[in-house]
Amino acid sequence: MDFEIPKETSTGKIVEVIFGATPDQGGTRSHSITVGGSSALPFHFFEGEHPHRPVVAMEVFDKIPDKYPEPLLEYYKDVIGKPGEMAKRCVEQYGAESVSVRLEGTHPEKGNRSADEAVEAVKAVLESVQVPLIISGHSHFEKINEVMKKVCEATAGENCLINYVETDNYKTIAAACLAYDHTIVAQTPIDVNLAKQLNILLTEMNYPTERIIMDPLTSTLGYGLEYTYSIMERIRIEGLGGDRMLAFPMLVNPGYESIRVKEARVSEEDYPEWGNQEHRNAYWEIATTMSLLAAGAELLLMYHPKAVETVKKKIKEMYDSRDGD
């Protein structure tokens, strides 16, 4: 047999990004998280290195999200308005490796909570769990700049992952991240060139490359997933091919996006062909996450405990088998 395994080696390597600081490093986290470092496409252990496993983070809220699906609420109904308690449940019961505090309630149209209230929510989570934190915002520039500045200052030294900046609004938040030693998420709307451009803008203000994670914008299953999927594949291929301005780890939001769609909210009674709603909630998030994992995602922001358990299990099997366990 003249068959040889066809290997393709990469000239580039994905940047290793660390977030979360331990007491030695000036923070209070029990450990740091490193993502990135890959020198091959996802799952391709046969032709490159994947030194760090993809990370599953779960999200807590400063206000109860609109249209939160009923079956999902069952898991959290006693803690959902309380970020500290919800974070504890996500970490201790559902195995979250990191927690994202989404400050949606500070949006002027969605509660207009103050920057100080946002700091309070973040502090509650810092106290209740020891995993590295992600701080997630929204797109109201003026307000989120004010909020993130305060949050960055209040959490100085913790090396939080500040999620996110965008091309039309990056300077204030990036400067705050620089001043208080945080890592940043650079979000662009499903486009390779825009993603690259924002990374260049950040490095031009001397933002260190090892502190950037990209968010190519998640479209969920059935609502444009294929665009996110292909843009991520293209970004990853360019990054591994040597384009350093595209060689960053990628974050995706399968949880946030999956609960917003009609499929998450309607019952089996109304849509019999769509099947059991509770299962469907988890399946929708699992399918979105697994396909984006295959496209290059390293950091997964998830909601459904069953989806989290499943995806974590699959990542573990994959990497344990690679490590010969």
Binding site: Y229, E273, W274, N276, Y319
Partner: protein, 446 residues
């Protein structure tokens, strides 16, 4: 692998004799490369040229068909590793396992339910493609009876999973014109190949290693049996995806003929969430048939939606039908929004209007599936075209509102639209769909 015009030119006689009907060999080579001519049109072509060009014309992954009629499944013929390079050609066939150990009533109910299952999504009817019949009963006639029942109650293509060769033959006799496939749990034998030849079936080969698979393929190819589908046993998801990648890459990039066949997987796990995760990854990464051990509508709908996404041609944006969409339960007094018929634009805009909790009319113009800015730049989403569409669909009869919201990114068309649409006030909306709920709250739209 595709040859360039220049590659082909090198193989031609270079005499410019014109006997092929084209003045020069170079021009003929270009036509061949574009598949607008056949090599046989050149009476002077060498044997080498025929061999090389002939091989290049053979698809690197063979087309295999299972089943007959409108429900027949075609798989293979794929040409790229990544969907953005061109497109994935044939959608992954989804199969559901049925067991002969089930009692007849149970089996019949399941077959009928699977046969009935269909769900529409973005203009496509999503269905199960195949039935996978596993013989696990001790009843001697169990297999034959099950095949009979399925044939009488289903139009789906059939894969036979039957280790007992005698029972298999008895089942195959009922499927003479139905082009089923046979799943081989053991290494392929001469008898298997004979059966496949005699009954016109394809064979699904299963192996533990690339070498083992390679040997089995050689054996079937030598017996002139080419309708085959490949499957490698794997321990876990990562190994499975790697195996599939290696097989597909060998066929497409290395022109390694033995692996130029579609791939198959039977996911034999019980936990439904694990199953969902594995099926999702395998659908993205190259399996052309996925067999699920259970019939679960929520899982089917999720997987079929993923399939629709992944197998969409990236060169052709999915369009939604241009018309007035009711978001919520609008009355004639409800606000009116206008956008283009690019599916993603429609999904996001309609979703955000829905999130606002306000009912509205969403006018989706025919822009050949382009997004707002692209359609505007191409002159398909401007005052004149929007006004014409609104008149064509008789919007003025259906709604009483005389305010219309346009996307913020095309604020420059507002004057033009007002001119073309007398009696209407044009309101420039927000640029980002995510700001729609806030916009609706703050602006008087009726």
């Amino acid at each position: 692998m595709a040859l360039s015009g220049l590659d082909i030119f090198k193989l031609l006689p270079k005499t410019n004799c014109g006997d092929c009907g084209v003045p020069t060999c170079m021009a003929f080579a270009m036509k061949l490369a574009q598949k607008k001519a056949e090599l046989s049109e050149c009476p002077h072509a060498s044997e080498e040229a025929s061999a090389v060009i002939g091989a290049a014309a053979t698809p690197p992954i063979r087309l295999v068909k299972i089943g007959v009629g409108a429900q027949a499944l075609e798989i293979g013929n794929e040409t790229v590793m990544f969907r953005h390079e061109k497109t994935f050609v044939h959608q992954t066939g989804i199969a559901i396992q049925l067991r002969t150990s089930a009692n007849e009533k149970e089996l019949l109910a399941k077959v009928k339910e699977i046969e009935r299952y269909k769900v529409e999504r973005v203009g496509e009817e999503l269905k199960v493609d195949l039935l996978f019949i596993s013989h696990d009963s001790s009843n001697k006639d169990g297999f034959k009876n099950a095949v009979k029942l399925i044939k009488e109650n289903s139009t789906k293509g059939i894969i036979l999973d039957c280790p007992d060769r005698e029972a298999l033959q008895s089942g195959l006799e009922l499927l003479k014109d139905d082009r089923p496939a046979i799943f081989l749990r053991e290494e392929v034998t001469d008898t298997d190949i004979e059966i496949a030849h005699a009954c016109g079936t394809s064979l699904i080969l299963l192996a533990d290693t690339f070498e083992d698979l390679n040997n089995q393929i050689e054996k079937t190819q030598q017996a002139d049996m080419n309708d085959i589908v490949l499957s490698l046993n794997s321990q876990e998801i990562g190994q499975h995806v790697q195996n599939s990648t290696i097989l597909r890459r060998s066929a497409l990039k290395k022109n390694y003929r033995p692996f130029g066949y579609p791939l198959f997987t039977f996911i034999e796990v019980e936990n439904e969430f694990d199953l969902m995760a594995m099926a999702s990854a395998y659908l993205c990464k190259y399996d052309s048939i996925i067999v699920l051990p259970t019939y679960d509508r929520a899982m089917l709908y999720t997987l079929l939606t993923l399939r629709q996404n992944i197998f969409t041609d990236p060169q052709k944006p999915i369009q939604v039908e241009p018309k007035i969409y009711a978001i919520g339960e609008p009355t004639p007094q409800s606000p009116v929004f206008v956008t283009t018929n690019f599916s993603l634009t429609y999904f996001i805009v309609s979703g955000e209007i829905e999130n606002s909790g306000v009912s509205a009319h969403l006018v989706v113009c025919d822009c050949e599936g382009q997004s707002v800015l692209t359609a505007w730049a191409a002159g398909k989403f401007v005052g004149e075209t929007i006004a014409k569409f609104i008149k064509d669909i008789n919007l003025e009869q259906d709604v009483k509102t005389r305010k219309i919201v346009i996307p913020g990114f095309v604020s420059q068309i507002s004057g033009d639209l007002e001119e073309n649409l007398p009696g209407w006030e044009v309101i420039v909306g927000c640029q980002e769909a995510s700001d729609i709920p806030a916009f609706i709250k703050n602006v008087n739209l009726t």
